[in-house]
Structures are given as C-alpha cells and as structure tokens.
Amino acid sequence: MLCQQCKELDAVLNLTHLVGEAVQQVHLCEKCAAERGLPTTIAMPKPTAIGDFLSSVQNQVSAMPGDAARCAYCGTSLRDFRASGRLGCAQCYGAFEQSLRDLLRRVQGNVKHMGRQYDAPTGEVMTQDAALSHLRQQLNDAISREEFESAASLRDQIRTLE
C-alpha cells in the first residue's frame, strides 16, 4: 500500500484515529510519519521485536515451495512455522534446512555457529518407546510399594505419552 501523503513510498505505519465516533485509518511511509512527529525508525530506532522477526519469517518462508511440508518427528509444517515463528522440535532444522538457512542468513546475517562446540552425553537421548517403558517400570514399582499418589501421576504421564 502506498503512503497516503506522498503517494510515492510504501506505507509502513498504519494508524487508527478516532474522529468523533468514526474510526479513520491512516497509512504513512516512514518519512512522512517522521515529518508528522510520529515515532518511526528514522526518528527513533525501534527494538527488533518478535513482530519484526515474524514479518521477515513470513516474507522469507512464504516464498518457499513445499509450504505444507511437515517435520516427520513433530508434525510441524512450514505453514505453522510461518504463523508462529517457532519450530516444533530439533528435527525441524533438518526438515526445513534450506528455508531455514536462507532465513538465518537474512535475520542473523550468518548461518555458521562460531561458538562452543558440544558433545552430548551418550546414551541419554530417550526415544518415545524407551520413555514409555521406563515410566511403566516406575509405575509397577510404585504400585508394588503401594505409593498410589505417585502411581497415579505416572499413569497420567503414560496416558499423555500414549
């Protein structure tokens, strides 16, 4: 949408005015908004809020093919990510690698982690099945010890996982 004042630049500021009982929408570009003394990035830099990030996600990711592609692990789709700005799990990084690489380059200016490297402790990652069998074992133990409160809580956890 073009700025209502200069009719040259894209409007970036959408204002809602209350005139009497009527609601009026005003759309201004950054320059015209600054001229009217309204806070803009020219007058005052704004912090990068989640909204700004979301709009860059939307601009970037909407251009990607395979919008409905889903992460096989958690079921998050690119569309979900575009709506919320959040990924569903670590595996999403593999599932949407190309889109994310472009997005990271755009919002972070880089894709390469230069910080500390990390080796996860081995044998600790629990799969869903392993977690369930671990919980079932704990449930049996709790029942045999007649600890019914913790048994009930474990049973709830198992149901949720199942």
């Binding site: 007058a43 005052m44 830099p45 912090p47 990068t48 809020a49 989640i50 990030f53 692990y73 958690c74 079921g75 998050t76 919320s84 700005g85 959040r86 990924l87 569903g88 799990c89 670590a90 990084y93 994310l100 997005l103 990271l104 919002v107 972070q108 200016g109 880089n110 894709v111 390469k112 982690h113 230069m114 910080g115 500390r116 490297q117 990390y118 996860a120 402790p121 600790e124 990652v125 629990m126 799969t127 977690a131 919980l135 709830d156 956890q157 198992i158 149901r159 949720t160 996982l161």
Partner: protein
Amino acid sequence: MTLDLSLLPDGGVPWLAASGDHADVVLSSRIRFARNVAGYAFTARARDGERLRLLAQVRDALPQVPSLGGAAVLRMDEMNLTERQLLHERHLVSKELAGLDGANEVKSAAAVLVSHEAGVMVNEEDHLRLQSFRSGFDLEGAFRTATRLDRDLGAILPYAFHPEFGFLTSCPTNTGTGMRASVLIHLPGLVLTQEISKVLQGLQQMGLTYRGLYGEGSEVIGNFFQISNQTTLGRSEDELVEHLARVVLRVVEQETQARRVLLRDAGYIIEDKLWRAYGTLRHARSLPADEAMNLLSGVRLAVGLQLIAGLSVYTLNKLLIFSQSAHLAHAAGRTLTESEANLARAKYVRRVLADETGPAGAVA
C-alpha cells in the same frame, strides 16, 4: 502453593546489591543461554507428559550441578497470578513462563529454579533458559557463572546441537550460541540532553539492540534500557560478550558526559526537577506505578550527581522492584485494586525513604 519468599536464596535478587562497577548507571548484567534437550519436542509442541518428564530430569540432575546448589524449585502451574507476577517483577521468570503475556496460559510443568548464583527456567519457549545475574557492570562474572552452569547441566542432559547451526532453539533468532548477554542501564542524562536516539541508533549499527526494563516487548520507562546482542550466529560467545562490554562502557562514558553537560548548562533547573521528584516520593499519598518509576529515575540521577546524600543506590534498586504491584499485593496478603496499590506504593516508598534518611523534613 503459597510462595514463601524466604525460600528464595537472597530473595532471588542478589543483583540489587549495587555492588559492581558503575552500579549507579548499570543496575545489572545478565547472561542467558537458551537450550533444548534432545528427544523432546520443543515446549510449545511438547505434550504435558513430556514437559513433566523434562522437569523431573532437571530436578534429578540438580545434585550434580554445583551452581544450582540449594536451589528453590518453583512450579508456575501451582502458583496464583500475584505470585507469578512477583517473580516476573524480580526478573526471575519471563512473561511467557509466568503466563502473563496474554497469548499463553501457564504451561504444565513450567518452573523456575533459583539458586544463589544462577537460575533456570524450565519449559519456557525453550526447554531451558539458564541465566546468571550480577549487580552492576560485570558481564564477565555473569558469563563465567552461566557458562559453568551450562557445561555442568549439558554434561548430564543431552542438548539439541547441530555442528553448523549450533544450539538449536525454538525461535531461529536464538539459534547458534543461544546466548543473550545484556545489561540493564539507566540513561537519564542522555534522555534529557536528547542524545539518546543517536546512541540507540549507534547500538543497532553495532549489532546490538535495546528493550525496556522487562525485556522483549516491554516499554522503556524510567529511562531504564536493556542493551543486548542482537544476533547469536557468526560470532563466539566470548566475542559477543566482549563486544557488548566495550560498547556498554562507551555508553556509560557518554551518559557521564551528558550528566556533566546537564549540570553545567541547566544546573538549577535539573537540581530543582530532581529535588521535586524526591519531595514527591517522600510525601505523596498515592503513587501510580509509572510515576513512581519516573520519580525514582530522577532521584537515582540526583544520587549519581551527588545532589542528594545519605541515600544508597541499593535502596533505590530495592524500591524499583519491591514497589511494583504484585510485591505490594503479596505484602498485603490479598489482591489490590489499582487505587489501593497506588496508596500502598506511596506508603511503602515513604517508609523505606524515612528508614534510610530519617523522618521527612530532616533531610536538608
């Protein structure tokens, strides 16, 4: 569950001590790491059982993590609104974890661990948000503690890590180091001399960003700014911390310079304005939160300029946090309407100032 504040080591706010460098300008330094544990969906996508299991895993790990020794474990989903707000006012939990951001309710198994030197939010936007605060300007100290905590916990819980992208986070703006280094800084001199927008613009050009007193999405109020690194990829943790520290020291210099200019060019106007702020705090019978924050900003400046003697920065720090609405409600033992809170705030501020400087009227 009733929140027993005595269980919180140092009330969870040792950073109010005003003990570090430049403590009259820099309130606190903070490092936080965003981490996720492999094998679980990220918090927003995780099921109740996964979140409960994660919390149990973190609790099990506690005895092996020295920096969390003696930590209090507080479940957000077992607390009432005032208690959650109070923890947020102390910067111990984010709005999201405390279910205060409007969009999200408190999630099951959302919790915070608070020890003398560090804290961990569990089931926040990321599974773990490790954080360390220091009083004054001490990014290095906060970084040391947070890094130790990160290494100890990461040796027990397997973090989600990618050799190229680094630590994987729910929001890609944190991916990489997952680190946000920040200082909470008071810049009334730069605001009054109208230099602030130039300074803030400069920050953005240097890869830094600013927010209000309560971080993302919060307004700048009382001339308090939170300055932090903007990006988390492409630079190491050390580089990010050193860069921020260098820039913050420069901002502190600019603030000091602006204060000198103010005194030189508008001495009596400034002096009058600040004494009026002090007078209002000492005598007002009703104080809205925003007004109190702005008046406290003025008095803080007056103490920094040595116009007001006998009042410590520690007391001002305490007033800044403990005069907020949830703290007043907690002290009253019930929820307060806005006007009741304003009365309670004025009374609390008057009492604290009188305790420190003697009865009203005794200060020259």
